[in-house]
Symmetry: C2
Subunit: 222 residues, 2 copies
């Protein structure tokens, strides 16, 4: 396991190599590989493990009985998922976690933190604090999606989403982590209607795009 790389993640920030090594052992860290579109965690089940994406990416989604999919978020390398469920530890998952590409995932039994003696293990307090940062950020991501889906028109949703990605990337040229169907499922709209609207927005000069690369025209920053 690469303690070097882990120390750059939010969760292990501020921990020494030795502390990380110790923590990985205590939390029973396990590495697993998943093929694209393989499901990692299933809605309705329970988990005591949180995941760290080492390579690839995963998406958090929900599939109802009628086949409607809602994508809640995309989790890239160095980011975490299921920490909420792993920590609470007997809440059934409301969502599925699916590999978006071939992925390498590190699992951590984070609930063990609650039972570990912080006095004798210097890393416990650090991990708890860092985990709080992780869940707090996750909160921001979830509220963020609310703002992307709340506009009533497709155009409104698309602009809300693209502006937010542009803001984060610090540029008006950027890639999005979704294909069309996924973007539609993230914004809770019909894919073909999304395609139509994207087309219109391109003709009107608001945006340009090709595949998953987008550019927002300056005039559109209103």
């Amino acid at each position: 396991m690469n303690e070097e790389m882990l120390s750059k993640t939010v969760l292990f920030k501020g921990l020494s190599k030795e502390e990380i090594h110790d923590a990985l052992l205590a939390l029973q860290a396990r590495e697993l590989l998943y093929k694209k579109d393989a499901s990692i965690l299933l809605a309705g089940s329970k988990t005591d493990k949180m995941g760290l994406v080492l390579e690839g990416s995963v998406r958090i989604e929900s599939n109802d009985v009628w086949g409607n999919r809602t994508i809640l978020s995309h989790v890239g390398p160095g980011q975490f998922f299921a920490e909420t469920y792993a920590f609470l530890h007997n809440e059934p998952l409301l969502v599925d976690v699916v590999a978006n590409k071939d992925s390498r995932i590190l699992f951590l039994q984070i609930h063990i933190l609650k039972e570990t003696n912080a006095a004798t293990h210097t890393w416990v307090l650090k991990l708890l604090t860092n985990l709080l940062v992780v869940t707090a950020h996750k909160n921001l991501v979830l509220s963020g999606r609310s703002f992307h889906t709340s506009p009533k028109t497709i155009r409104g949703k698309v602009l809300a989403y693209l502006n937010s990605v542009a803001l984060q990337s610090g540029s008006h040229r950027f890639d999005i982590p979704f294909d069309r169907q996924q973007l539609a499922d993230y914004l809770n709209v019909d894919r073909t209607a999304l395609s139509k609207e994207l087309g219109k927005m391109k003709t009107e000069g608001l945006i340009t795009f090709e595949k998953n690369h987008f550019e927002i025209q300056k005039s559109a920053d209103f």
Copy 2:
């Protein structure tokens, strides 16, 4: 301040009266009163205080430039808000916090937790762990709303929401914390269209309601 009552909240669970007293001092606890509809925290500002609703209730909402309101959640007595922002502590708020009734709020400078010596203060570790439970639950609330808003028809949204409230209350008869306009803003739909759909659902025998009291007919549990 009532340590008795506080010890029943998620955040102070497991702390002794003395620990709570100590913590309140260290976190510079302040109690404030708000009139119905007074704003407590403003989007765009930053806060280093999280709130605990002692009496009354607040709502978390977002108001865009065109006057569209989106309600993210309702926070009742004994529950917390703004813990995300208070802990991260220099993230600008994405939302407004507004008093839904006349309310008594306890504010805590929770970020002080990060700088307090856990070795000499027994309550620090407990509060950190409990705070993690709070943010984890907040995550579930936020994902929950996603499932209430993702159906494409108003009826679908209403049923998703009502079923979820029924499940939590453990009964098919329950009160909701929203008036019509607020419910519409929570579900991201037009109020009059919501009224129409509720009316239809009543005539069809799916639900009955009066003001904010609802009943789901057993046949509707599909």
